[in-house]
Subunit: 216 residues, 2 copies
């Protein structure tokens, strides 16, 4: 069934076949269809009906492509609550939305954590809203980023954890009796979700206390 693929035209086409938007969308589609391991430059080019080398006229390398994808994913994160609800409720909703997005893109987590945000407009917009919300909620300037980073660290760690297999802590009871026991005590639930919920509730409670202590 090798279909009749007429050899494509060389040279500059009438209208450009590629753009940042098209490349990013195709990459995200590919990831959602077949996972991150399927995201190769060759596969992406194929998806776009283009030769692999053509991509490099638009994106400098695969790492930059991942940053585009990251910014695309960040667009899905909901931080509208910061404009209409108290800081702690908004932070909770943001954290949930953030975790869910990256549970589906856990391979991006190590990329996010290390990449300057400046080149990513949606990402910058997100942090701007979060920072404004915390400041409006009474947090002092010099602690806002610490709060953001702390919560974000927990969120990204949890996103990684969400990608783990359910039996990650399974262990023979004779090797580690206490561990086997407490691991057994949480079967049935969505373990990663439960840990995230407990952790987030804990963090929020701690933050409320801390802010209260700051502003008597």
């Amino acid at each position: 069934m090798t279909s009749s693929e007429q050899p494509r035209r060389r040279g500059r086409p009438t209208a450009p076949l590629l753009s940042q938007e098209k490349i990013t969308s195709a990459a995200v589609e590919l990831i959602e269809l077949r996972g991150y391991s399927a995201l190769t430059m060759a596969a992406l080019a194929r998806q776009l009906g283009v030769a692999p080398s053509a991509l490099y006229n638009h994106v400098s390398n695969k790492h930059q492509l991942l940053r585009w994808i990251q910014d695309h994913v960040n667009r899905e994160i909901d931080c509208s609550d910061f404009e209409v609800r108290p800081w702690d409720a908004a932070l909770e909703a943001w954290a949930h939305s953030y975790r869910d997005a990256y549970a589906r893109h856990s391979l991006l987590v190590p990329v996010i954590a290390v990449t300057p945000i400046a080149g990513s407009p949606h990402t910058v917009a997100m942090y701007e809203k979060v920072a404004a919300g915390l400041r409006a909620g009474g947090w002092p300037d010099d602690q806002v980023m610490d709060v953001v980073v702390a919560v974000e660290s927990f969120v990204l760690g949890s996103a990684l954890d969400a990608a783990a297999p359910d039996d990650i802590f399974d262990v023979p009871a004779d090797q580690a009796p206490v561990l086997a026991r407490v691991v057994g005590a949480r079967v049935g639930r969505d373990a990663a979700r439960a840990a995230f919920d407990l952790g987030l509730a804990t963090v929020l409670a701690g933050l409320r206390d801390r802010l209260r202590a700051l502003t008597p």
Copy 2:
């Protein structure tokens, strides 16, 4: 200076040149010397004075090698406090030690988070101590792992954050004025460390509250 490398003997040597211990140590040494990007199977073999293919008689693939390294790194994590101090103090010390270890091995973080611990003896031993400490501290069986995973998520997220460049949040003030302002308000400090300390203190405060509410 291409030194006189006599062609090495083929076939089985009198004493095995390789073992899990030797391979892992050499890999860790290589990483500490030249970073993770230098950890290739060829470079590792070279470090051990052996042909690359010889490694595959001992380790099934690079991913398994990373798991050996992970277990090796976990051996450095200090969790002795769980046997001699209150659960919250021990948890704090553990988290610090854990973060510091993986700040130096952040490339392993996505591997840890997803790999079953069963094949890693030091890792199992670590969790056993932590679980026993929390249980002894009064935490109910069905919440111990949630606490462990929540703290671990924060720790691993923070370890990733520690590997980020200092200027990761730098942004033109006209694009995101509030963000620029709060980012500017924390210059001078070790930002990642400050966020970790704030977050850990917050989590511990929240956990103490929670346990107190459970056991009146």
